[in-house]
């Protein structure tokens, strides 16, 4: 009955460990039980996707990992070091890029350095801008750029400070399908090149399968881990893989898991 995930099979040192995470908060309309006893280890260099229906607490889980809001119970630690506030080794990538509209691209990317009171690492920034194809856009403002370009800039902003963990909160949810494929390829490449540990929240099953080493499937209210799914497709994975029967079979399997989870939920509410 209790969905605690124990990571056993493949090795890999635990980078980010979540144990017994429970989050209950008050809103104007009442109490929200966002997370219930969630335990999962994100392994060093792993690409972990977190998926589930809306309201399953996946964003709450990610924001807790980022130290942006405290847990009601439980513990989150990076390399054994408990996270109670934002950690310099962890960078977050938000929905809709979340660039500051009053700053040009260059100033947006320099923001983390400004906040830390250090000099921007120009060389690294330029290399990253080159990597994502944004050279020469430094003096453009966010509104002058497409959604994909904005999200590339936000990826550069996060990688510029060289964190070891990237937390991504539905970063490509607002993009059109083509741009989304492009961004998924890019993030896969960057991940393979840099070896960062990534936790990636999405509500797109194909996106999760395309990107992840493992997929955490969550159930809603209170958010629990329903199951963990290993994706053993070799890398690099081309975009075209998404039309292959094996890929589609995997999508169906995860979809079934999520649906059965929701089915149970409906049963509960019927009884109650």
């Amino acid at each position: 009955m209790q969905a605690t995930a124990t990571d056993s099979k493949t090795g890999g040192r635990s980078k980010l460990s979540v144990s017994g995470a429970t989050k209950i908060y008050q809103t104007k309309t009442g109490t929200v039980h966002a997370l219930e006893d969630v335990s999962v280890d994100v392994r060093e260099g792993e690409f972990l996707c977190i998926i589930g229906p809306s309201g399953c607490g996946k964003t709450t889980l990610l924001w807790s990992m980022a130290g942006l809001h405290p847990l009601t119970r439980g513990r989150i630690a990076i390399d054994g070091d408990p996270i109670t506030k934002p950690h310099p080794q962890i960078a977050m990538i938000f929905q809709d890029a979340n660039l500051l509209p009053w700053r040009n691209l260059e100033k947006n990317i320099e923001l983390p350095f400004e906040l830390k009171g250090t000099k921007p690492d120009r060389e690294r920034i330029d290399r990253l801008l080159d990597r994502v194809g944004l050279v020469g856009f430094g003096n453009k403002h966010p509104r002058e750029l497409s959604g994909g370009m904005q999200q590339r800039a936000s990826i550069v902003r996060s990688l510029a400070v060289d964190p070891s963990v990237l937390l991504m909160d539905e970063p490509f949810g607002a993009l059109d399908a083509f741009t989304r494929d492009e961004m998924n390829l890019l993030i896969q490449e960057i991940w393979m090149e840099t070896g960062k540990t990534i936790a990636f929240v999405t509500h797109s099953i194909p996106e999760a399968i395309f990107l992840a080493d493992r997929i955490v499937v969550m159930s809603a209210r209170p958010g629990r881990i329903a199951s963990i799914y290993e994706v053993d497709i070799p890398r690099p994975r081309p975009v075209s893989i998404q039309t292959e029967p094996d890929f589609i079979a995997r999508v169906m399997e995860i979809k079934t898991r999520i649906d059965s989870q929701r089915g149970q939920e409906f049963d509960h509410s019927a009884v109650a």
Binding site: W63, A66, G67, L68, P86, P88, I90, A91, M92, F94, Q95, D96, N98, L100, P101, W102, R103, L111, P112, E114, L115, K116, H141, R143, V161
Partner: protein
């Protein structure tokens, strides 16, 4: 035929004659749309219209032999402005001084109050009705009282200007500060920002368009109050000159003062418009 078709299709890639795609927040845009001469042609036409109006007024007033005490001709006003200048400019300085000091005090207090109060929703709810009272009550009405207390110097007028402009700045800035974008604050926090940094790097820039609207409206209110207060009592300032010249029926001089007041008003507008373009142009 092809050509005709081309001409009938609006070209979207062409740079709009509006020039910069800069418009500020709703409030500023509304203020801005009144002005905004951008191309040379527009400026030329505006000048042409001015020439026609001024020249026409000159001509009609001269031909109709309208007496000077009813309406002086533009040339008489211009002459009066030049010849009376040595007597006028000290009053101009007094008015500018009162406006500037009063506005600086009022705007600073208004801005700080807005920044602090919006952090505490309960306090904000309690204070807002009183601020509204200050906004809606003409501060000019307090001037006789202030004169009783502070005499005929600049002090009562400075206080009145501060009281008139401060609440305007406050109420608009508060609207700006209330626009909290949690994602942007979370972004700053995720990079280790402290409370002060969140304030200076996120909250203030985000509130800036509304702050500028507040400053613009507040300073115009300040100008009204300065001139009004000077008309009520005392012996200095452009407002005082208005009552002085009209009591002597020296209409060219009277209109020269009005011209100066209009120039001050326009300067304030142009300054904040420029300020808005520089600091709040990001908000489409």
């Amino acid at each position: 035929m092809n050509k005709a078709l081309e001409e009938s299709i609006p070209t979207f890639n062409k740079k709009d004659t509006g020039g910069d795609d800069v418009s500020l927040s709703g409030g500023l845009a509304a203020l801005g749309s009144a002005g905004g001469a951008r191309t040379r042609l527009e400026i030329a036409v505006i000048i042409l219209v001015a020439v026609i109006i001024i020249g026409g007024a000159e001509l009609i007033l001269t031909v109709m032999e309208v007496p000077q005490y009813i309406l002086p001709t533009p040339s008489q006003i211009a002459t009066a402005l030049v010849t009376e200048w040595p007597f006028i400019w000290p009053h101009l300085l007094v008015t500018l001084f009162e406006l500037f000091v009063g506005f600086a005090i009022g705007a600073s207090i208004g801005f700080i109050l807005a920044a602090v109060i919006t952090q505490f929703p309960f306090v904000e709810k309690v204070v807002t009705p009183y601020i509204l009272l200050l906004v809606t009550t003409p501060m000019l009405a307090l001037v006789p009282l202030l004169i009783l207390r502070f005499g005929f110097g600049s002090e009562p007028r400075i206080i009145a200007v501060a009281l008139a402009s401060g609440p305007m700045v406050m109420i608009n800035s508060a609207t700006g500060f209330r626009r909290t974008d949690l994602a942007k604050i979370a972004l700053a926090r995720s990079f280790g920002a402290n409370t002060l940094q969140i304030f200076t790097k996120i909250r203030i820039p985000m509130a800036m368009p509304m702050i500028i609207v507040g400053l613009m409206v507040g300073s115009i209110f300040g100008l009204l109050t300065t001139v009004g207060a000077e008309m009520v009592g005392g012996a200095e300032g452009l407002g005082n000159r208005l009552t002085y010249y009209s009591s002597l029926i020296r209409m060219p001089q009277f209109f020269a003062i009005i011209l100066l007041l209009a120039a001050i008003g326009i300067s304030i507008y142009v300054f904040f418009f420029w300020f808005g373009k520089k600091w709040a142009s990001w908000e489409a």
